[in-house]
């Protein structure tokens, strides 16, 4: 497949993480949850991150979390990001424990570690969906 240089690079979707990217496409964020120890994990993998069980299923999560860390990227590393720069990139910690790479839909100057976030999605013309969390007004957890 030929790619336009101004297309945003796509995630590598494989057997292990297809369930994750499919859930974003459906706007129903889901992670793997272990049937043996009950814990969620991220990133995706064929075995429970915590007890190595292979008994697990994709389960929808609350979508509530907090901003764990962020940066605002100024340098244009890729032409697809030329117009967006400077843009935020973030690590969000879900209520359920796992952390996720995401963007946050707000002005860079409003970003604060610990701010409350709820899940949102950004459907891209390139044919995949990214996580774009939204600030919960007034909320800090």
């Amino acid at each position: 497949m030929a790619t336009d240089v101004t297309e945003r690079p796509a995630p590598d979707v494989d057997e292990e993480n297809a369930g994750y990217w499919d859930s974003l496409r459906r706007h129903e964020l889901a992670l793997q949850r272990c049937a043996d120890c009950g814990r969620f994990w991220s990133p995706a993998g064929s075995f429970c991150r915590w007890c190595l069980s292979d008994r697990w299923s994709w389960e929808r999560v609350s979508g509530r979390g907090t901003l764990y860390a962020f940066t605002v990227v100024h340098q244009v590393y890729h032409p697809a990001f030329r117009e967006a720069a400077p843009y935020p990139a973030a690590v969000v910690e879900l209520e359920e424990g796992p952390r996720l790479l995401a963007t946050v839909d707000c002005a860079p100057r409003e970003l604060r570690v610990g701010m409350a976030l709820e899940v949102g999605y950004r459907d891209l013309p390139e044919g995949f969906t990214l996580l774009a969390f939204r600030p919960v007004t007034g909320g800090t957890r």
């Binding site: 590598d12 991220s42 860390a69 100024h74 952390r99």
Partner: protein, 379 residues
């Protein structure tokens, strides 16, 4: 067993650093080996182990065997170790193990690469989840760490700048350094953001070049051309997990790697005369100083201020300029400078009476960490 003082670095060598158009990673590596052997007064036939970290920009299989061939050595031991920027120190340990158990007697360890003028594809991989969110190369990931450190401990951009200022000051005193001009805190503050909170002057350059060291037993080392510089301690500790999933972003592998090496060496941070700490980004030495115990956790920012880490300060740091000032190569130059400081060969940038030097290596995005304690003698 405690290998303290049983092994020594007996030769160091390097190429020019910077943009070396037309030079391959192999050609640079061979030149560094040649220079290190000349420094040690050895011929290729005197070496029976060739150890490498593979070039970051050309991560090929059996690289060490290719280097062995290019330097004309049929080795008893050859290996490439991948602990990213911690590999060079890791290889010192591997050499010690092989010598200790009679698998070889003298090892050359070399790293060379040409990402500045060759392919730098590896440095900004345009694929995967990170790239989809605009996280290219390593600076945005280190920015997450710097930002958390500022959040948790109040570290400031001026404190990051103090690291850059010290390294560039030292680089300007090192004729072999890539950057010959010192910078001020104002220069740092005026430099553009790459990924907040990191500015351009918080980031090391991408550089061509190579460096090599020769390691042998203390017995063999005595009577060689240069005075031996002893390995007093060595340690490693690796957070390993990708940045988003790590339990903490602000404590590094140095927190276990350092104490391990210091314990082996029988020293505390107070005994260290000079430090060569991996500084791909200014935040890294700050975290490392805390984790090594040179100051309390969170006080690394304050520690690097007011000239404390400049030559003449309490703990001269990266006396050759480090990654930020001498060259962006992933770490071998720090070991080379540590050895030269212990030998007293550093001229205008020599730390007077330096007897113990700590060197750190780390790689990925603070994914790995290794510590080396060098000594002018075995105390």
């Amino acid at each position: 067993m405690n290998p303290r003082g049983r092994y020594a670095v007996v030769g160091v060598g390097n190429t020019a650093y910077g943009k070396l158009a037309g030079r391959s990673a192999m050609s640079l590596s061979v030149e560094a080996v040649r220079n290190a052997l000349a420094d040690a007064g050895l011929r290729p036939a005197d070496v029976d182990a060739v150890l490498t970290k593979a070039p970051t920009s050309n991560f090929t299989m059996l690289w060490s065997a290719q280097v062995a061939q290019a330097v004309g050595i049929v080795p008893q031991v050859t290996a490439t170790l991948d602990q990213a920027g911690a590999s060079n120190i890791g290889l010192v340990g591997y050499a010690m193990w092989c010598i200790e158990t009679g698998q070889c007697h003298t090892a050359v360890i070399v790293y060379g690469d040409n990402p500045a003028t060759g392919s730098r594809a590896t440095y900004a991989r345009p694929r995967g989840e990170g790239a989809a969110y605009g996280m290219f190369g390593v600076p945005p990931w280190y920015a997450l760490i710097a930002q958390r450190h500022m959040h948790e401990y109040g570290t400031t951009s001026e404190q990051l700048g103090a690291v850059a200022v010290a390294c560039r000051k030292h680089a300007a005193m090192n004729p072999g350094a890539q950057f010959q001009s010192p910078i001020t805190l104002e220069d740092h503050h005026a430099s553009r953001f790459v990924a907040e909170p990191l500015r351009l002057l918080d980031c090391c350059p991408i550089s061509d070049g190579a460096a090599a060291i020769v390691v042998t037993s203390a017995e063999r080392a005595s009577g060689m051309r240069k005075p031996p510089v002893y390995v007093l301690g060595i340690g490693q500790g690796h957070p390993a997990w990708d940045v988003p999933y790590r339990s903490t972003l602000t404590t590094s592998g140095a927190a276990t790697s350092g104490p391990m090496a210091f314990r082996m060496a029988g020293i505390t941070p107070a005994d260290v005369d000079v430090a060569q700490l991996y500084d791909c980004f200014t935040i890294v030495p700050i975290v490392t100083l805390e984790d090594y115990g040179f100051c309390a956790k969170g006080e690394g920012g304050a520690f690097v201020e007011q000239g404390r880490i400049a030559l003449g300060g309490a703990l001269p740091l990266n006396t050759s300029g480090g990654l930020l000032g001498e060259t962006g190569m992933p770490g071998m130059q720090l070991i080379v400078e540590g050895v030269r400081q212990m030998r007293g060969e550093c001229g205008g940038r020599q730390v007077p009476d330096a007897r113990i030097c700590v060197v750190s290596g780390q790689g990925g995005v603070m994914t790995t960490h290794a510590t080396l304690v060098l000594g002018k003698e075995v105390p």
